[in-house]
C-alpha cells in the first residue's frame, strides 16, 4: 500500500501517480459495485439491507491506501469502498454479498459483516460504534507485541454519540494506542441531521476531551484524506498515540432501502452531487471524459465478471449450518 520507490510524480506532493490512478479506478469500481447492488436488490438477487457509500468514495480512497499491509482495519456498515481499498477481492466480495459459499464469510456475514481476518481486515459492523471498543484491544495487542502496526477504525457522525465512542477514545488516549479514528461525517445518522444531534460544529472538537489530536478535513478530497491518515499513522507508529480525523462528506443515497428521505431537500442533495469526489479526483489526475468512460467500462466489466463468479458459486449447504460457531 504505502511507499513507492520509482521516481514518480507525486500527486498533491504525496501520492505517487500510478497509485493515484489505481485509486481512481477503485473509486469508480466502488460506485459501480453499489449501483449494481441497487439493481440486484430491485431484482431480488440480494436480500436484507445495504448501506451505500455513493458520494463518499474519497474517504476510502485516501485512508487504507495510506497504510501498510500489516496494519488493521475495523470497518462500518457503509464499508464497501473500504473493503475494496483494503485490497478485498471483488469476486469473493460479490459472492459474500450474494450469500454464497465462496464469499469471504461463506455467505454467513453479508454486506454488514464482511471481513477478511487473514489480511487484517477485522470486519464491517452492524452495531453503530461497535468497532470502537475493539480498536482499544487491537491497539493494546500491537503495543504488547511491540510491532509498528496501526489500526484504522471507521465510524460515522452518528456513531460518535454512542457511549462506546467515549470509552474507546479515552482509553486509546491515556495509553497512547496506535489507533486512527476516522469519522465519516456525512451529516446524517439515518434521518438525524448533524445539527440536531450535536451542539458543536465539528466531531473533531471532541478530541480535546481526551487530550487527543483532532482535525477536520474535506472528506471529498482524496489527497486531504491521504495526508491526514498518513500523518496520523506516523504519529501512531512513533508511539505518540491516537488521532481523531473527521472527514466531512455527504451520502447521496438514502440511508438504506427503507429510506424515503423526507428529512432533507432535493436541493441539498443536488448541491452535494456537484461536489462528486470521483470527478474531482479525476480532474486532479488530468483524466478526461473519454478516459473516464473507459475506466467506467472496465469497472462495469469487472463487476459483471464478479457477478458471474458469484452466481456460479454454490449456496452454502444446509448441512453445514452449524459450522464456524465454536473453534
Amino acid at each position: 500500500m504505502a511507499g513507492n520507490s520509482k521516481n514518480e510524480k507525486l500527486i498533491g506532493g504525496i501520492l505517487p501517480e500510478s497509485k493515484a490512478r489505481d485509486l481512481l479506478y477503485k473509486m469508480v469500481l466502488t460506485r459501480t459495485f453499489e449501483e449494481n447492488a441497487e439493481e440486484m436488490y430491485a431484482l431480488g438477487k440480494v436480500h436484507g439491507t445495504m448501506h451505500l457509500s455513493i458520494g463518499q468514495e474519497a474517504i476510502a480512497a485516501g485512508s487504507s491506501p495510506a497504510l501498510k499491509k500489516s496494519d488493521y482495519l475495523l470497518n462500518t456498515h457503509r464499508g464497501h469502498g473500504h473493503f475494496l481499498m483494503w485490497g478485498g477481492d471483488l469476486n469473493r466480495m460479490m459472492a459474500e454479498f450474494m450469500g454464497k459459499e465462496a464469499g469471504y464469510c461463506r455467505g454467513r456475514g453479508g454486506s454488514m459483516h464482511i471481513a477478511d481476518v487473514e489480511s487484517n481486515n477485522l470486519g464491517a459492523q452492524g452495531i453503530v460504534a461497535g468497532n470502537l471498543p475493539i480498536s482499544v484491544g487491537v491497539g493494546l495487542s500491537i503495543q504488547m507485541r511491540k510491532t509498528d502496526q496501526v489500526v484504522l477504525t471507521l465510524f460515522g457522525d452518528g456513531a460518535s454519540n454512542e457511549g462506546a465512542f467515549h470509552e474507546s477514545l479515552n482509553m486509546a488516549a491515556i495509553w497512547d494506542l496506535p489507533v486512527i479514528y476516522l469519522c465519516e461525517n456525512n451529516q446524517y445518522a439515518m434521518s438525524m441531521a448533524f445539527e440536531r444531534a450535536f451542539r458543536i460544529e465539528q466531531v473533531s472538537e471532541r478530541a480535546a476531551a481526551y487530550g487527543m489530536v483532532g482535525l477536520t478535513i474535506d472528506g471529498n478530497d482524496v489527497i486531504a484524506v491521504y495526508k491526514a491518515v498518513s500523518e496520523a499513522a506516523e504519529r501512531a507508529r512513533k508511539g505518540n498515540g491516537p488521532t481523531l480525523i473527521e472527514a466531512v462528506t455527504y451520502r447521496w443515497r438514502g440511508h438504506s432501502k427503507s429510506d424515503r428521505q423526507l428529512y432533507r431537500t432535493r436541493e441539498e442533495v443536488k448541491e452535494w452531487m456537484e461536489k462528486d469526489p470521483i470527478q474531482r479526483f479525476a480532474k486532479v489526475l488530468g483524466v478526461n471524459e473519454a478516459q473516464m468512460k473507459e475506466i467506467q467500462a472496465q469497472a462495469k466489466e469487472d463487476i459483471r465478471k464478479a457477478v458471474e463468479f458469484a452466481e456460479a458459486s454454490p449456496e452454502p449447504d444446509v448441512s453445514t449450518i452449524l459450522e464456524g460457531i465454536y473453534a
Binding site: 454467513r108 452518528g158 454512542e162 457511549g163 449450518i321
Partner: protein
C-alpha cells in the same frame, strides 16, 4: 403495524403524559414505519428523535417515568438493547424495590426483534428470555394485530416497566382490529385454537406458523391445541396446565435460540404443575438453533422453526416417536 400506531395515537390523545422516544421515529417514521405520521399529529416534543444513544434512550424513559410521565421508548432493532441493559436491568427494573416499594416506573420499551429479513447476526435477535429473568420487568410479546393493540394499550396503562417485543415479520400481518381503544390484560394466556391431541405453546411469529401447522395436521386427523402466553412474565400458567392435563402432551415453539431460552422455563413450569401426572410424553422444545442468525437466506430459514418443522415435531410427539 397500523394496530401499534393506532394504539400509540389513542394513548397519546387520551393522556398527555404519554410520549414516544427513539431513533428516527419522527419524520422517518421508524425503521419499519411503525410511527409514521405520528409526528404530524403530535409534533417533535412528543415524538422525540434521539441521537444514536441507546443507554440514553433507556435513561430518558426511566427518568421520565419516575417523575410522572408515561413514556414509550423504541429500540430500533431489539439487538441494540444490549446497549441499554444497565439502565433497564439495574435501574428501571429495580428502582421500585430498592426504594422500598415507593416509586412507580411506568414505561413501555418497544423492540423490533426476530429474523427473516436477511439482516444477519446483529439485527435478528430474539432476546426476550433475558428480561423474563429480570425481576421487576414485565415481558409482552404479541402475535397478532388485535393482540398487539390491546396489549400495547394495557402496557401503557400499567404502572410497571414493560418490555414489549414485536416481530419484524408481523408488521405486515393483516387481521381484524377494532377502531376504539381496548385493552387485553397483561398476564392472560390465549387459547388460539382448541384441540385434544397436543398442547402447542408458541410465542410471537411462531403462533401463526403453529396455526398453519395445525391446519395441515388437522387433515391427518391430529387436533392441536395452540396457546399463546402473550405475556411471558407474569405468565398465566393455568390455561397451559389445563390444556396439558387434557392432551397429555406439550410442544413449545419459539424463535429464540433453544439453550437458555424461554422454552426451558415453560417446560419446567409444566413439569412442576399438576399436569406432570398427566404427561404421557416428554414436554418438547422446538426453537432456534444454537447459532447466530446467518445472512444467507436459505441458512437463515433453517436456523429457526418453520411450519414444516412444527408439523414434523408435533406429529412425532403425538405418534409417540420421539
Amino acid at each position: 403495524m397500523e394496530a401499534l400506531r393506532e394504539g400509540m395515537r389513542q394513548a397519546m390523545q387520551q393522556d398527555e403524559r404519554v410520549f414516544v422516544i427513539g431513533e428516527d421515529i419522527g419524520v422517518y417514521g421508524g425503521a419499519f414505519g411503525v410511527t409514521a405520521g405520528l409526528i404530524d399529529e403530535f409534533g417533535p416534543k412528543r415524538i422525540i428523535d434521539t441521537p444514536i444513544s441507546e443507554a440514553g434512550i433507556a435513561g430518558a424513559v426511566i427518568g421520565a417515568a419516575i417523575t410522572g410521565m408515561r413514556p414509550i421508548g423504541e429500540i430500533q432493532f431489539s439487538d441494540f438493547v444490549v446497549i441499554s441493559m444497565e439502565q433497564l436491568v439495574m435501574q428501571g427494573a429495580k428502582m421500585r424495590f430498592m426504594f422500598g416499594g415507593k416509586a412507580d416506573v411506568p414505561f413501555v420499551m418497544r423492540l423490533a426483534g426476530g429474523s427473516g429479513t436477511g439482516a444477519a447476526a446483529q439485527h435478528s435477535e430474539s432476546l426476550e428470555n433475558w428480561f423474563v429473568h429480570v425481576p421487576g420487568l414485565k415481558v409482552v410479546m404479541p402475535s397478532s394485530p388485535y393482540d398487539a393493540k390491546g396489549l400495547l394499550l394495557a402496557a401503557i396503562q400499567d404502572n410497571n416497566p414493560i418490555m414489549f417485543f414485536e416481530h419484524k415479520l408481523l408488521y405486515k400481518t393483516k387481521g381484524p382490529v377494532p377502531e376504539e381503544m381496548y385493552t387485553i390484560p397483561l398476564g392472560q394466556s390465549h387459547v388460539v385454537r382448541e384441540g385434544k391431541d397436543l398442547t402447542l405453546i408458541a410465542t410471537s411469529i411462531m403462533v401463526s406458523r403453529a396455526q398453519q401447522a395445525a391446519e395441515q395436521l388437522a387433515e391427518e386427523g391430529i387436533e392441536i391445541e395452540i396457546i399463546d402466553p402473550r405475556t411471558l412474565k407474569p405468565l398465566d400458567e393455568k390455561p397451559i396446565v389445563d390444556s396439558v392435563i387434557k392432551t397429555g402432551k406439550a410442544l413449545i415453539v419459539h424463535e429464540a435460540v433453544k439453550t437458555g431460552g424461554f422454552g426451558g422455563e415453560l417446560a419446567a413450569v409444566i413439569m412442576e404443575s399438576e399436569a406432570f401426572a398427566y404427561l404421557d410424553a416428554p414436554v418438547r422444545r422446538l426453537a432456534g438453533l444454537d447459532m447466530p442468525i446467518p445472512y444467507n437466506r436459505n441458512l437463515e430459514y433453517h436456523a429457526v422453526p418453520q411450519v414444516e418443522n412444527i408439523v414434523e415435531e408435533a406429529r412425532k410427539l403425538v405418534k409417540g416417536q420421539y
